[in-house]
Symmetry: C2
Subunit: 209 residues, 2 copies
């Protein structure tokens, strides 16, 4: 397909596609004339992933290039690709480890929880720090969670993750799968929080009788 069709099918403006080509986020098309190139389905899939990384995950162009490079290195390993795209695994674990202080607040509690549940997660997963800091903030405000409650929330998160992964098509191309996982993970967040608010309102009404 021509760049105009790639633009139409991806809903990404031609100028933006050209910018991504110059920045190396998209491989060049097959040249068919001095100023024309032909693109295929792999360009479309890659372009959709680029849009999701930039527009949904909020990465910079440089960070997107790094993630795509790491994804290409691990092309056959579906779990690695998902982890890279979702940000669960740092692109360069060593660099990340050097630059990122181990989370200080609540880290012991998070380690204990993950150990107790037997979860296999990267030591530098940014979600660890978010969890630890949030628990610490709640505690400092006198609204801390006890261990049983935290475990209860973690078990519900396990079931949510099963639902999340059940919806990925195991037959799909890994890049396509990664893009959908990213959209579903990040874009579903407000919906999950909204469902919780609605469910709280209902549960509160139920208890009041």
């Amino acid at each position: 397909m021509r760049i105009s069709e790639l633009s139409r099918r991806s809903a990404v403006p031609t100028a933006t596609i050209k910018y991504y080509l110059r920045e190396g986020l998209l491989p060049p098309g097959r040249a068919t004339a001095a100023t024309q190139a032909e693109y295929d389905e792999s360009h479309l899939r890659r372009l959709r992933l680029v849009r999701a990384l930039i527009g949904v995950r909020g990465l910079s162009v440089n960070a997107t290039r790094e993630v795509l490079g790491a994804v290409a290195e691990h092309a056959g390993e579906r779990h690695q690709v998902l982890g890279l795209v979702l940000g669960a695994r740092p692109v360069d674990e060593a660099a990340e480890a050097a630059g990122m202080a181990a989370p200080e607040h609540g880290a012991a509690e998070v380690d204990a929880l993950i150990g107790e549940l037997g979860w296999e997660v990267s030591e530098y997963a940014p979600a660890r720090a978010v969890l630890g800091e949030t628990l610490e903030t709640l505690r400092s405000l006198g609204a801390g969670l006890d261990r049983a409650a935290l475990r209860g929330y973690a078990e519900l998160a396990e079931r949510t993750a099963v639902l999340d992964l059940d919806q990925l098509d195991p037959e799909a191309d890994p890049l396509e799968q990664a893009e959908r996982a990213l959209l579903r993970t990040v874009l579903m967040e407000p919906a999950l929080l909204a469902l919780r608010r609605l469910a709280q309102e209902n549960e509160s009404a139920r208890r009041e009788g």
Copy 2:
């Protein structure tokens, strides 16, 4: 207690407390001299709720005053108070209804879901619109949820809400309960999302074997 102790116990600067007094967010203390007043535990509870409404829920001073007024009107009705503090119920339903167009995107799907589950939630709950718009966005990107998956997420939200409400002390003063519910609901959000990310990583690793 003097204003200095109120400040110490609430960790709110004296100047801020004086501002809240001028703005009518806190009732005046009992005057003990021309320039001195005595405050009690009810001031402390109210001050904590004001901080949570402004700092955690992000309300303006005027909106906080309106919520507090509505809370005072419904002082005995625990469910109403929680709904007002959490923003599930508009302060003035009529005004809200006039100003707020019914959510257009995905509203039918949200109504159907809520009906199917038998949830009792306000027609103008802002979470309805958030949910509808998110589902619509996912669909427009080709990553829509089917009915069974949406229902699965809603059922997990029900269990989360049960956990949330189990942690409120039913004996506590309603304002104190409302403040804790607000802190727990809003501040727990990043922790719940982080748990989901960690659980996804673990589930992905488990499936990869």
